[in-house]
Structure formats: C-alpha cells, structure tokens
C-alpha cells in the first residue's frame, strides 16, 4: 500500500514536472519565435515617439537689463484627420477667427494627400485667436450630448515660441531679426546665431516611464547682454530723426562708443524697421548695406580724416603743433591742383589753425612731406581698408588705395590726406580716432557686453587693435582739437565740458566728378577731453539746409553730447576735477 502510494506520488510529480518543463519550453519557443520578433518590432515602434522640442532662443538685453529680444508663445493650428467629426464646423470656426478661406480649409481637410493624417491649417497664430478657438471647441464639447463628440473634434493646437522684440524698431540695426525658420539675419542675431541657437530639435522620447532618464536635455540658447544703453539709443534715434527733418538730409547715422574699451553705447541709423514685422525688410531696404550704414556703408569721409593725417605727421616728427605754414590757397600734387574748401589762401597758420580752418592745402602739404610710405603706413595702422572686427554681421571694409595699385595715382597722396579718394565706414573712422582719444591705442568696437548661460555670466573683455601713434602724440592732438573747436566757436561745444572733435564735409562724386551741392556732413568728437568717456560720430547724407558739416553735423553732435552726459551721469569738468583732487 505504502509502495503504491509512493509510486503514485512519483508519477504525479513526474507529470507535473513534465508539464512545468513543457510550459518553460513553450515560453522559450514563443519568446524566440518569428511572431515574437514581429511583435517586439511592433512594440518598439510605440516605445519611443518622435517629438519636436522648441528650446527658447537666448534673450538679448541691453547693458542695464532691459529686454531687447525675447520669446513669446504662438500656435500651430491643425486638424487630426483620424478623428475629425465635422469638417464644415471646423472650416467655419477657423475661417471666421483666423480670416482663412472657407473653401480652402474644407479642401485641406476633405482632400488630403495620400497617407496624410494631420493637416496644418495655420502657424504662428497669436495667443488671443488661438485661445478663442480653444474655448469654442471646449464649449461645443461641453454642450454636446453625453457620449457625442463636439463638432470641433479634431482641431488641434500646438504652442511654440516665436521671437519677439518689445522695443519694436529700437536698435533694429544692432539687433537684427530671426526668420520663422529660426535663422538670424543681420546684427547680433546673425553674428551670434549659433550661440543664441534655439533651433527646434527632433528627438525620440521613450514612452516607457522606466526610461524617463532618457528624456533628452535640450539646452536653451545663450542669453546675450549688449553694451547698448537702451535709453541712450532711444535718444540717439530721436535726435537723428529730428536732425533729418531739420537739415533735410536723406539719411543719417549717430554712433556712440566708449573710447576706453570699444563698447558701443548707441548706434542709430536710418531707415529702421519694426523687427516684429521683419517681412517688410524688402520694402524698406534696397540692399543689405542699408540695414546698418554705420558698419556696412563705406563713404568718402572727408575732413574728419584730417585728424588722422595730423596724428601721422605729429607722430612721425614731420610737424609739431607749433610748426607754421604759409597757405597760398593751392598746391600741385601729382599734376593736379588741390585747393581749400573756399578756394581762398589762409596765410600763415600753425597746425592747430590748419585743423581749425580745415585746410586741404595744409593737409596735402603735410602728407607729401611725410611721403607715401610713411603716410600710408600710418593709415594702414589706423585700420583703413581693414575690417574693424565689430561683432555685428555685415561689416564692410572700405577701400584705401595704396601705391602700386592699378588705380592709385600720385594725386591720391594729397587727396587722401583730407578724406577724398578713400572710403571708410563710420565704425572704421571711430576705431581709428580711438587711438587719439585713448592715449595712442585703438580699441576694437563691440556690441557684446556679456553672455549668460546656465546661470553663469561671462563678461567680454575689451580688445585693443594696436598702437599706431604714441601716447604723447595722442594727447597733444587731442588738446589741439579742443583748442581748434573752442577757437572756432563750434556748434559742437558743450558748456561745462571740454570736447575734442573735427567736422567733415565731403562732396559726393556723381558721374565721376565731385558735386559741390551734394555732401556728406560728418562730425567726430569725444569728451571729456582729459578723460574721454564717450566718442560720438555723426553722419548726415546730403543735408539740404546747409552743405557744411559745421552747420549740420556739429550741432547734432552738441545735442547728442548733452544727452549723453546726462544719461551716463558724466559730471561737468570742474566737478570731476574736484573729485580727482580729493
């Protein structure tokens, strides 16, 4: 009996063991069957879903933390064709709210391309209409009978960021803009496009919550802090616009730079555009160089170049401030006669007088005394013909013809000395003149003050271009320019502050000849002369009220300088001297 019981147990155990083994074998077989592989493949399709991440493009601030370029939400509105209930209701709502054509919407929903299950009806829709549509969809769903879908079922909303410029056209030439494809054009938007980034990124995201750690980390773009002072920029643009009205100029530029480190404090140009409506670019500008004439539009600067010729002459020892010269009103250089602006002789002059009266003959005399090698060596050192390296997209280099070039003639040595026969942008002239204001060293102009990424701020250090002249030459010439302005009783003078500067009136070549009725009026100046904290360049194109820079650009400089000392809290000279004395 006991033996029989044990045998039964053994049989039962064996049977159960076989069943268990069969189960394991079957499990293994199923796991490794072609069907299992197929299902695994099917599952893998749903294990990850392709998502598009829209990282925020880095913001752009002015030096005081005012937002110049940020991001706002807009909507892509589309239709999920798999769950559309009433295409006519969708078409009615969308055409009413977004102003789209009813028939086109119906056609897009009812006649999609092969294999398409989602149709985009409109993108970059502002928040207000999108929210109204969302609320309409919700209310229709709420009012529908239980278990019945609302008539706007299938209408989908996807929000994503879009570039926004709260200051509209302010500093548009410095900032640039971003297209809907996310690419930066002009200004810092183009120059630092990679840093600002923010391009949409497509990535496979695991749907399995156990793989949450695989969610990709999409870095936001780097935030930029510009050297621009928003309030000073607004003032510069206002003064420039008023100047165009007052003097009847076709266009203009005002640039304000800190000559100690090259930080651009303001850069106003005309025309400007509302960056929120960048699609108007083609109607505002004829060509790309007009977007920021301060860096992209070289022109013959005229007499402002005389300060550089004088710097070269003083530094090379060709002249001293006290060197006298008898002005006869004309000089022959390279077979051509060069005359003064009023075609009159000015008699005995010292070098300060040459600058004060802006004598072409004096400058041509000095440049010929220096010789082409010395003169062009200094001009090259000042950066003529080279890019300044300003961190804004679209900079042009201008042109400085050199002996040996096919189109260089001996007369150019004379005409170049007073700013004719060469071309430069306002930015190049400022960089060159920074050597005089900054004790002999040129500064590289820049618009980027700092970068902020992951909560850390990286300040951009000042860069210096070179030392074309000595400190002594620079300081001497600066004093000469102060005296020449004060002696002249210039309209550029600012009560309480010593400023150094020089006017420029350059006739514009038309059909191969200079037209005496059309001029570019310029002024470059800096102050306070003993400790320069601002350098201002004014350029008015074809002023009709007066052709002279002294009567148009100089008073604009004076007005701008007054605004600058107020906004930058620069006290009058006597107050500063009290502080220094203490």
């Amino acid at each position: 009996m006991r033996l029989q019981y044990a045998r039964r147990i053994q049989v039962l155990s064996g049977a159960l063991g076989l069943i268990a083994l069969a189960i394991v074998v079957q499990m293994t077989r199923i796991q490794n069957s072609p069907e299992a592989a197929f299902f695994r493949q099917q599952a893998s399709v749903y294990a990850y879903e392709l998502q598009t991440f829209y990282p925020d493009r880095g913001e752009i601030y002015d030096r005081n933390g005012h937002l110049l370029a940020g991001n706002k939400s807009v909507y892509e509105i589309g239709v999920d064709l798999n769950i559309v209930k009433d295409s006519h209701a969708i078409a009615s709502a969308v055409s009413l709210e977004l102003g789209m054509d009813y028939a086109q919407v119906i056609d897009a929903i009812e006649n999609p391309s092969e294999g398409i299950y989602y149709v985009v009806l409109s993108d970059f829709v502002e928040v207000e209409p999108a929210v109204r549509l969302q609320e309409l969809k919700k209310s229709l769903q709420d009012n529908a009978e239980e278990g019945v879908l609302g008539s706007l079922t299938g209408l989908e909303f996807k929000s994503h960021p879009q570039r926004s410029y709260p200051e509209n056209s302010l500093a548009s030439n410095v900032i640039g803009f971003v297209s809907r494809e996310g690419r930066g054009y002009f200004g810092v938007e183009e120059k630092y496009d990679i840093l600002l980034a923010g391009s949409p990124v497509q990535a496979f995201v695991p749907t399995d919550p156990n793989k949450a750690f695989e969610i990709p980390r999409v870095m936001n773009g780097t935030t930029l802090v510009l050297t621009i002072n928003r309030d000073l920029q607004a003032a510069a643009e206002q003064i420039l616009d008023e100047a165009l009205d007052t003097y009847g100029a076709d266009g203009g530029t005002i640039v304000i730079m800190d000559p100690r480190d090259g930080e651009l404090l303001a850069m106003a140009v005309t025309p400007r555009m509302d960056l929120n409506q960048f699609w108007n670019y083609g109607t505002i500008y004829d060509n790309a160089s007009e977007f920021n004439s301060a860096i992209s539009m070289p022109y013959e600067p005229g007499s402002v170049t005389k300060i550089l010729t004088m710097a070269a002459a003083l530094d090379s020892g060709t002249v001293t401030p006290g060197t006298t010269y008898l002005d006869t009103g004309a000089i022959l250089v390279g077979g051509a006669t060069i005359q003064n602006w009023n075609q009159e002789p000015w008699g005995l002059q010292d070098m300060t007088g040459c600058l004060q009266h802006s004598l072409n003959v004096c400058m041509a005399t000095i440049s010929t005394q220096m010789g082409a090698g010395t003169f062009y060596g200094y001009m090259d050192g000042f950066g003529f013909g080279h890019l300044t390296g300003v961190d804004l997209a679209g900079e042009a280099a201008g042109r400085l013809k050199l002996p040996g070039d096919e189109d260089w003639y001996p007369v150019d040595l004379g005409t170049n000395s007073f700013g004719q026969g060469l071309s430069a942008t306002p930015m190049q002239i400022m960089m060159a003149a920074s050597a005089i204001a900054n004790h002999g060293r040129t500064v590289t102009p820049h618009a980027l003050h700092a970068m902020v990424r992951d909560g850390r701020q990286y300040n951009v250090p000042a860069q210096f271009g070179g030392s074309p002249i000595s400190e002594q030459t620079a300081d001497t010439l600066s004093d000469m320019l102060v005296v020449s302005l004060e002696s002249e009783g210039s309209l550029a003078l600012l009560p309480g502050y010593r400023v150094a500067g020089k006017t420029g009136t350059a006739q514009i070549p038309v059909g191969g000849f200079y037209d005496s009725t059309q001029t570019n009026a310029s002024f470059i100046g800096w102050g306070p002369a003993d400790d320069p904290q601002f350098m201002i360049y004014v350029w008015l194109e074809r002023p009709s009220a007066s052709i002279w820079g002294s009567e148009t650009a100089a008073p604009v400089f004076g007005e701008m300088a007054e605004k600058t000392v107020v906004l930058l809290d620069i006290p009058p000279d006597y107050i500063r001297q009290q502080v220094v004395a203490k």
Partner: protein
C-alpha cells in the same frame, strides 16, 4: 512505559517517511515563499519606479510649459516698460527731458557706482539624467548586479 520504549518511539517518529516528506514540502514552500517575497518587492520597486518615471515625464512637460509662460510674461513686461511707453507715461504725468545745466552733482566721498553683475534671471537647472539619483532609474536586478560587481572588485 520505560525509557527504552520512549527512545524507540522518538526514533520511529524521526525516521517516519511522512515526516521527511513534510520536511521536503516545508523546504519547497519556504523557497516558494522567498521567491514570492522577492517577486513582491521587485514588483513594488518596479511600480514605484514607473510611477516616479511618469511623474518625471509630467514634470518635464510642466517645466517646459512654465518656461514658456515665464517667457511670455517677461516679454509682456518688457512691452509695458519699453522706452517709448515709459517716455510717453513720463510726459503724460508732467515730466520733461532734463538739460545738462539743470543737473546738480554732489561729491560723495567713497561712493562708487555699482553695476549689476548678473543682468538676467538665472535659469533653473533642467531635468537630465545627471540630476536623477540611481534609486529612481535602477531596477532591483541592476542594483544587485552593481552590488555583486562592486563586491567582486573589492575582493580583487
């Protein structure tokens, strides 16, 4: 009943076949219970990890939404305080632009103009694999593997 009989009975009890079978059954059940406990713990840890993973997914979406809302609000604020709007408001309430000769400067010994170091808001750290501790993405088997590997390395 004498002592010898008692010893005999105890011996018979010890070698009884049903008792050995019970021991086997008991041991087998013990193994089953241990396996069930391990499976229960594994299931619990796995489900907790899944819940946490889902929370992480939700929080990631939430962070993204909040960042977008924050960017919207920042832009709206910038619009309301733009240079043109502020100037307009100042003029409306009776202010006018100041001229340089109207400025009065006071010399304050030792005063330095402070410039802000950080000019923009500090972005929050984003969720990433590096910020999630291993407890939230490691299975029980992974944890055991790691322990075994570490102990083997310790022995070596």
């Amino acid at each position: 009943m004498n002592i010898q009989n008692v010893d005999h009975l105890v011996h018979a009890y010890k070698i009884a076949p049903w008792r050995i079978q019970r021991q086997w059954i008991g041991n087998a059940l013990l193994v089953v219970v241990v396996l069930a406990m391990v499976a229960t713990i594994y299931l619990d840890v796995t489900s907790q990890a899944a819940i946490t993973g889902r929370e992480i997914q939700d929080l990631t979406v939430s962070i993204s939404d909040n960042q977008q809302v924050s960017a919207d609000l920042q832009t709206k604020l910038a619009l309301l305080t733009s240079a043109r709007v502020m100037e307009q408001r100042a003029l409306e309430i009776g202010f006018r632009p100041m001229k340089s000769e109207e400025t009065e400067y006071l010399v304050v010994p030792g005063y330095l103009i402070l410039e802000p170091d950080i000019l923009s808001s500090v972005p929050l750290l984003q969720l990433s694999a590096l910020t999630i501790p291993p407890e939230y993405n490691e299975s029980l088997l992974d944890w055991m593997d790691k322990k075994i590997i570490n102990s083997v390395r310790g022995i070596q």
